[in-house]
Amino acid sequence: MRTIALYSNKGGVGKTAAAVNLSYLSAQTGAKTLICDIDPQSSATYYFRVKPKLKSGTKEFLKGGKKVFKSIKGTDYENLDLLPADFSHRRLDIVFSQLKRSENRLHGFLKPFKAEYDVVILDCPASISILAENVLNTVNCTLVPLIPTTLSVRTYLQLLTFCKRNTIDTSRIHTFFSMVDRRKKLHRLLMEKVSSKLSNVLESDIPYLSMIEQMGVYREPVVAFSPSSRASKAYQHLWRNLQETVFINH
């Protein structure tokens, strides 16, 4: 089982859009895929037309097992299931910190999925907390969408510093540019600078396109409702890139 987290300590960078589209593309390859929405905003859940409600409380949720399995919903697509978000996820950090060995708890949560799924994609909330530490410690690959702006790059550097300070393996953290507007000089300059200075920057970038925003209207991944659009091609490229550079090592 491969585990990927879409994570950023900054909000509104395109995590959910990437998680939803990548999970769809993964399922299309025939791999049994589960997208776990652990963001209390429940946007991924909304995109898949599922009600944001779990059959267990947050504590049970983290323990994993049967109750969590009961909450899983099939999506509109073959091979793709969703573990919906719940409003109670806003307390995930507090519950995590109350548990013993709190920084490695997510490992136990993901373990039971191994028997049923080939790929698990986590759509994480924007925070740099015990939940983030869990994600970074557990998954095979953390994907961080990066808007080519000064503040966004600064936040990403903060994340890398946090990882080094907490002895978290940064080789499993990959980034890609998101919401890119190539007409902007600043975007082009920052992309060039970041790609030359930092490692693990994926070649693919996701442009800033209204088609991606329309996912909220269609309530479907853009790769499903408009497979030949520019937006879809960008996600398909990102998915191929991910398979070639990241999956090959896991």
Binding site: G30, K73, D76, D81
Partner: protein
Amino acid sequence: MRNTIKFNLADDEIESHISNHLAAQHKMLKETTISGRLTYYDTFDWRLFHKSFVLYTFQDRLILRKMGEEPIIHSINIKPTPCFIWEFPKGDFKQYLKPVIKMRRLLKIGDFMSGTTPYRILNQDEKTVARLFFETIRTRSRKNPKTIGTQLWLKPVKGYPKFSNKIKSQLESFGLTSNRDEDVFLQAMRETGQDPGSYSSKLALQLTPDMRADEATLRILRFLFQVIKINEAHIEHDLDTEILHDFRVAVRRTRSALVWSKNIFSVKETSRFKKDLSYVGKISNELRDLDVYLLNKPKYKAMLPEVLRQDIDPLFDYLGKKRSVSFRRVIRSLRSKKYIKIMQDWEAFLNEPQHEIVSGPNAEVPVFELAINRIYKQYRDVVKAGNRILENCDDEKLHKLRIQCKKLRYLIQFFANLFPSNKISILVGQLKKLQDMLGNYNDLSVQVNYLLKVSRKMPSNLSRLKNTLVAIGSLIGKLENKRQSVKESFAETFTVFSSSRNQKLFRDLFALLPEKVVS
């Protein structure tokens, strides 16, 4: 409801009635019909069918599922369809299929057209809560396609069981009944006139303890003759190495059965056929050896250091060419007058009315008595020979013991159904371990000698010959080391086989008194 349910439909026209009926009560979305060629695959000896697997291609996708079940175990996009396991890309599919088909070729066993129309049942949020698939399989005739089967699959969506349960009841109220009995694969095979699982080289003979020895022996020999003929007809197609192998094993088993048939039929005739079949066996000795070398190519390469792996290739090219020559020679021999005459005479003997066959002194003995006497005698011979090797181990003795073990194995297999299957399995398992060890030793000895011989004969004009000779030398070294370690393992393997527990098992099964047996 968690699993997919299948309903067999009377014809493909019923689809519109059912969908209209459901559309009146649910919001339904019809999707584009997916049509394409559906091709089924299995090996010559139905290995997939025997393990309840169905392997097929649909739209460039190779799919494996369990018989009678819809969920797919593995699938990959691949074109052309691989013939052998080593042609599959690395991955889970290959790993899963490898122990099932081993070195056998995947053969196309049926070619059809499949059309599937998916429907989605939606809730008030337009979310898919159940799926329906109408699938029709037809023959490939353009003018007159014949429908093989029409079925409706109801596939629940995880987390929405109420919807699927409701639809299931509605379909049942429409007069449909869920059906898990017959897989469409079986319907398709019937259409092609094939009987899945009809061929197997494994001995599965139904003998009864009081059957006359001559009758039982004829039954065994006739079964083996069938295996010989079925495989003989396909040797020239060169589908895979196992066609010839099964042919050879059946010939060897026949010869082995003829040894103890001398007191059942006339000595003159049995010794004549023994000689004839010995000739039949020898025809393909060289070809089989070459097949084994070529099959072992990946294993041999893995034994070599990385730097020499490429250098061994000319050896396999050379062996490949030799195999082509040898193959043509075998085909010529199988078409020769001598071979045809032997087979005709043998068939005539087997088909002679039983009263006309000249009988030997053991003809009327109950087969159970014959079986226990032969097996126990053979077992004691094996143990005696093995004990002598423990005192003084040499190659000739090991070779003789290997042959004796083979005879014992054949005897047990011939008469297996006369004894409790669980006990027979234990004995065969123990014997197999000893046979594997002896077989390995023999193979390694033959391989070392053969490689030495080949290295002297290889054409000297090959530019890479020097490096190839170095690689062959290295391989010989590795094989020789292995050979020695296998030889050293004899004492341990044999001690387990001849343990008192095993001896007791043999005694309990086969050392019975005849009068007790007959009762």
